[in-house]
């Protein structure tokens, strides 16, 4: 099933680096006087480098009426400073033979460049410049907000599965800001101003709310010196307090449905789930991660084997669990029923598989298999410089120290069959479940109005 959501991120726990050779030192970290942390992972396989600047600010920090502003500001970050004109940032990266981009999540906003290693100092100068000196020009904003609305149309409005996912989260979370889509509601985008983006930038973009991750063929001491030179001069400022906005306990199943032009129906089931807060003491997130591997870790894992191949009740079934996040966790199962089978058939079949784990647990062979895959991933992930930087950055974004990455892997390897069964019993409960259904509509209708009520289109 094609999806517009970007799934380039490897599974959380397949991401963590195994520093089997040089555990002692690499990566290296320093903190500048202004509070900016710099983490360097030396990898000398090829003469290239990756710089990523991570801001601890994402869509979860937005307020009602301004959904999407974190992502809009990300776009505006390419629109210039007093010393680097609009569009000039991309131009300079391109001239350096580099590639750059940025991404916004619920929890963070991150910017990156991949360059030949000798161009790293210039990239650091560029990122440092826009950390505190961005122009948020009203004319540039007026154009860019249109681009973001086109992005929303492409990613969500015309993508039935994405729309289902958006609506499902809006139902699953009521108090916590995870209920809002990262890209923002269309009406909020239509009413956003350059001043909103500027205020966002002035409030959150500062060295004490950021960290820099650099991987590649670099010397960490040299990188630290460059960081001091470029970032060290930036002033820090106190951050506003952030309110927890904790989601109250869900006390009963929630069901929603979404109509959209499509051929196939789709089902999404989401259970509230824990996230990792304490690497040493937490147990359940590790157990749930291994549970997802047993259910969906390879082509003959339980879901695909039973539901797609044997019973043919589903065309596809997937499970998603991200155990590291600033906010509350969810475990998602998505699927599409086969022709002639209903959404209800599929939901019942998924529930039967869950019940099987709850009653009978998992086999030693299944657990061993999941562990073997995990170990192999630790080697494979080192093939990507970018992936290694992502791993450090995402771990830190969830307020977990990168130094705990190896420990997390160890903890995963220690998960027992009993842990998995206990986690399945504890978390797969209807009281915390939200179910979303895509109700496919024929195409041959009058064109949909481009947006919801209140739209100015």
């Amino acid at each position: 099933m094609k999806t517009q959501r970007i799934r380039h991120l490897l599974p959380l726990f397949c991401f963590f680096s195994a520093l089997t050779v040089n555990v002692q030192a690499n990566p290296y970290e320093t903190t500048l006087k202004n509070g900016l942390r710099v983490i360097v992972k030396e990898d000398r396989r090829a003469p290239t480098a990756v710089q990523m600047v991570w801001y601890r600010i994402g869509s979860m920090d937005e307020v009602d009426g301004q959904s999407g502003v974190a992502h809009v500001l990300e776009h505006m970050m390419f629109k210039g400073t007093p010393s680097v004109g609009p569009g000039e940032f991309n131009k300079r990266v391109a001239a350096a033979g580099g590639r750059d981009n940025a991404f916004t999540s619920r929890d963070y906003t991150a910017y990156f460049q991949q360059v030949p290693k000798e161009k790293l100092p210039e990239m650091m100068a560029l990122e440092a410049d826009r950390m505190r000196h961005l122009n948020v020009d009203a004319r540039e904003f007026a154009q860019e907000i249109k681009v973001v609305m086109e992005e929303r149309r492409m990613r969500t409005d015309d993508n039935p599965q994405a729309k289902l996912f958006e609506q499902m989260n809006a139902a699953a979370f009521q108090a916590h800001p995870y209920r809002r889509p990262i890209i923002g509601w269309m009406n909020d985008l239509e009413n956003m101003s350059a001043a909103d983006a500027k205020a966002w930038y002035e409030t959150w973009y500062m060295p004490n709310n950021a960290y820099v991750v650099i991987t590649g063929d670099v010397d960490h001491q040299a990188v630290f010196a460059l960081a001091e030179q470029h970032y060290g001069v930036l002033e820090s400022r106190p951050l506003p307090p952030r309110r927890p906005q904790s989601e109250p306990a869900q006390e009963g199943i929630r069901r929603i449905s979404v109509k959209a032009p499509a051929e196939l129906p789709a089902l999404i089931m989401g259970w509230k789930a824990p996230v990792l807060r304490d690497i040493e003491r937490d147990r359940d997130p590790y157990a749930l991660d291994m549970l997802t591997a047993v259910l969906d870790g390879h082509d003959a894992a339980r879901f695909n084997k039973k539901l797609v191949r044997e019973d043919k009740v589903a065309l596809s079934v997937d499970i998603g669990y991200d155990g590291s996040a600033r906010g509350p966790g969810m475990l998602y199962i998505t699927g599409t029923p086969s022709e002639g089978r209903s959404i209800a058939d599929l939901e019942a079949a998924i529930r039967a598989e869950i019940a099987r784990i709850q009653q009978d647990g998992v086999s030693p062979a299944e657990l061993k298999r999941a562990r073997a895959q995990l170990l192999a991933q630790q080697i494979y992930k080192k093939d990507s410089m970018f992936g290694q930087a992502m791993e450090i950055g995402q771990t830190e974004a969830a307020n977990l120290p990168w130094q705990g990455i190896d420990k997390m892997l160890e903890k995963l390897q220690q998960v027992s069959a009993e842990d998995i069964q206990a986690a399945a019993r504890k978390y797969f409960t209807d009281d915390t479940l939200t179910v979303g259904v895509l109700d496919p509509q024929p195409l041959a209708q009058a064109p949909r109005r481009p947006a919801q009520a209140g739209s100015r289109d």
């Binding site: 290239t48 916004t104 093939d383």
Partner: protein, 432 residues
């Protein structure tokens, strides 16, 4: 183990258009059965990537049997020799090995990523060998995958991007296999015997290239490639159809309820290895290949806010593949956006890039060269393309020099030769 919810990118990442290239020692030899082998030693990590490519993509679908190449490839690893589909998946997972690949217009690929520890490498390679040489195509499994494919194709027929893509290729290649697309009906008509016959004809040693990248010495690479190839019947190399003939451009508008129009503009252009490749690719960087700094991006996205994603690329294939401009925009402004894009293209064909733009294009294409080679995965992709398409072995070594040699005049001449206005086809889905 997957993240369903991840992130929203600021920019659309270009997926196509850049050639495979590198400055890397690729060793090449041929097995007794005529399989061409390409090998890059990369000793830093204890892992190996192997890719076996066959000229067995959708261009070789027999008439009336569109979708056969894809379904053959899709069912290849669902039971082979004495292993059923479950045994294959479980044994690979036990080894921490990953089997991948797929079929495009030209190639059917099977790739294996494995650890090189002795207790992992040999069993993983043994599974790969069996999948290549002895797929079962069991009745029940073939029927199941056929049904799933039909459903997926029906779903695709409701998506504006899929509809646009299908119509675009059909319009560009009315009499060539590149224009024939799998449909629910064509796939429903396929049989297990078709897959067997297709496999027997195309998954053969003389029609294969093998690419290896990883922690091996030459002798081991020779042995591994030799064993994989020896398990295949010798057979013969696939015979290409007559190349596509140029057809006059057309306009196609397809109604759809989406909020955005999907637009594709283009024509058949060049095959892999064409002498105009470098002027076209260097020129296209300025036009619409250079991401955020291209003219299309600046005019369509930055200045007017018409689109999130706008790009152009050349996709050279075994036979002339398309040049394409693509964008999505609010349905009410489709006409304006098309007019704008066409104007940018026409101006570029007529006048080419400025000297400054050409210099910027060269700086990026030569400067970014190391980024194309900084992982085993990228080395594999590059070497496999060079091998499959028979590009010269020094392609990597000479790439930067050939980019640097391109002049404004070269770009103008090459674009004038290949982008003729009256041959351009425009497909719009959901435009007003």
């Amino acid at each position: 183990m997957k993240r369903l919810l991840t992130v929203v990118f600021a920019f659309f990442t270009l997926l196509a258009g850049q050639p495979a290239v590198a400055g890397v020692a690729i060793e090449h030899w041929q097995t007794a059965g005529g399989t061409r082998v390409y090998f890059v030693a990369s000793r830093a990590l204890p892992m190996l990537d192997v890719q076996v490519d066959f000229a067995a993509g959708s261009m070789f679908d027999p008439p009336g049997k569109s979708g056969l190449a894809a379904l053959t490839r899709g069912t290849l690893d669902l039971g082979a020799g004495d292993l059923d589909e479950t045994a294959i998946a479980e044994q690979l997972a036990d080894l921490g090995a990953q089997l991948g690949g797929g079929a495009d217009t030209d190639r059917a690929s099977v790739s294996l990523r494995t650890l090189t520890a002795a207790d992992k490498l040999a069993p993983a390679l043994a599974i790969l060998g069996r999948v290549l040489a002895s797929p079962r195509f069991a009745d029940e499994i073939f029927a199941r995958e056929q049904t799933r494919t039909v459903s997926a194709l029906k779903e695709a027929q409701t998506r504006p991007d899929s509809i646009a893509g299908k119509a675009f290729w059909e319009a560009l290649y009315p009499k060539h296999p590149y224009g024939r697309q799998a449909s629910p009906e064509s796939v429903a008509g396929l049989s297990r015997a078709d897959a067997r016959a297709f496999h027997a004809q195309y998954y053969v040693a003389a029609n294969a290239t093998i690419t290896l990248v990883g922690d091996l010495d030459r002798a081991s690479a020779e042995r591994i490639a030799g064993e994989l190839a020896a398990a295949l019947p010798t057979g013969s190399a696939a015979v290409l159809p007559a190349p596509p003939v140029a057809v006059k451009g057309s306009q196609k508008n397809i109604a759809h309820p989406a909020s955005q129009a999907h637009v594709q503009i283009g024509l058949p252009a060049i095959e892999r290895g064409h002498p105009d490749f470098f002027p076209l690719v260097v020129g296209n960087y300025t036009l619409g290949g250079g991401g955020f700094v291209s003219r299309l991006m600046k005019e369509v996205r930055d200045k007017r806010g018409y689109a999130y994603s706008v790009y152009s690329y050349f996709a050279p294939l075994k036979q002339p593949g398309p040049f394409q401009i693509g964008l999505q925009t609010k349905r009410s402004q489709a006409r304006d956006a098309i007019k704008l894009a066409r104007g940018i293209l026409d101006d570029f064909v007529k006048n080419g890039p400025s000297a400054e733009e050409l210099a910027a294009a060269k700086a990026n294409l030569t400067g970014s060269f190391p980024l194309r080679l900084d992982s085993n995965r990228k080395l594999l992709d590059n070497a496999a393309v060079i091998g499959f398409y028979g590009l010269p072995l020094d392609y990597l070594d000479t790439y930067q020099a050939r980019v640097a040699a391109v002049t404004v005049d070269d770009v103008k001449k090459a674009f004038s030769r290949h982008i003729r206005g009256d041959y351009l086809t425009t497909v719009t889905v959901a435009g007003e």
